[in-house]
């Protein structure tokens, strides 16, 4: 074990280490799954709903105001799981689609709150930029105001 890795692991509790190991395995599984099955199926397997703004039923699913930041008190299990996701995603290779992997992993960590995965896009400097974020408990996590949500009917 290199000294850097030893120092990294020394700062973590046993619980953190286990959660980080689980997050690494899940991140690898997500990476493979995204290459093999559709995004909505990956989301469902992880316990997330796949949001499509045009299919929201306002009677059962009150719209989450865009940009409303989710402020929730995480329980201890969620806190450890979210810390592990953050730790793994900070070091995850590649800079394309990281937000999607992040949203999927956080969504899984927060799955008891029925999170929904949203997908958006926009153009920045004439380049298409995709983005993914979560909504749960009346707020959003990772939402970016400059991008718009994609829907099945384009509205």
């Amino acid at each position: 074990m290199t000294s850097a890795l030893r120092a990294f692991s020394r700062r973590m509790t046993g619980q953190d280490l286990r959660a980080t190991g689980r997050a690494v395995l899940l991140a690898v599984a997500v990476e493979l799954a995204l290459r093999m099955v559709s995004l909505d199926r990956v989301a469902h397997r992880l316990g997330l709903g796949f949001a499509d703004g045009s299919r929201v039923d306002p009677r059962t699913e009150p719209a989450v105001p865009p940009g409303a930041v989710a402020r929730v008190a995480l329980d201890p299990r969620e806190r450890v799981a979210c810390r592990a996701v953050a730790r793994v995603m900070r070091r995850w290779p590649g800079d394309r689609g990281t937000c999607l992997r992040e949203a999927l992993l956080y969504g899984h960590a927060l799955r008891t709150r029925n999170p929904r995965l949203h997908v958006g896009a926009g153009t920045i400097d004439d380049r298409v930029v995709g983005h993914a974020w979560l909504s749960f408990d009346g707020g959003t996590l990772g939402y970016r105001r400059e991008l718009v949500e994609l829907t099945s009917d384009g509205r």
Binding site: D52, V119, T123, T151
Partner: protein
Amino acid sequence: MNQSVSRPRVIARQGDDVLWRQLDDRVLVLDVSRSRYLRLNRSGTLLWRALREPRTVDELVDHLRRSYDVSHEDATTDVEGFLADLREHGLLEAA
């Protein structure tokens, strides 16, 4: 013997596994099954919007020619090429 030759009635519409949005004058499409984004050009955007309903090639050609000053032949080539691209990316359903 006289034989009438008719164009096959290719009917297509937008696929089900697709999310999209028009930004400025172009459409951005996410192919959910492959997690991949595509940006359509202006004529592609026009045709894509028409494909919300099932359409034949002839209808799409007419639709394109109403907005662009192109010959029937060129428009047909463009439409067929566009549909082939969409099919290749799995963004089209046979209707």
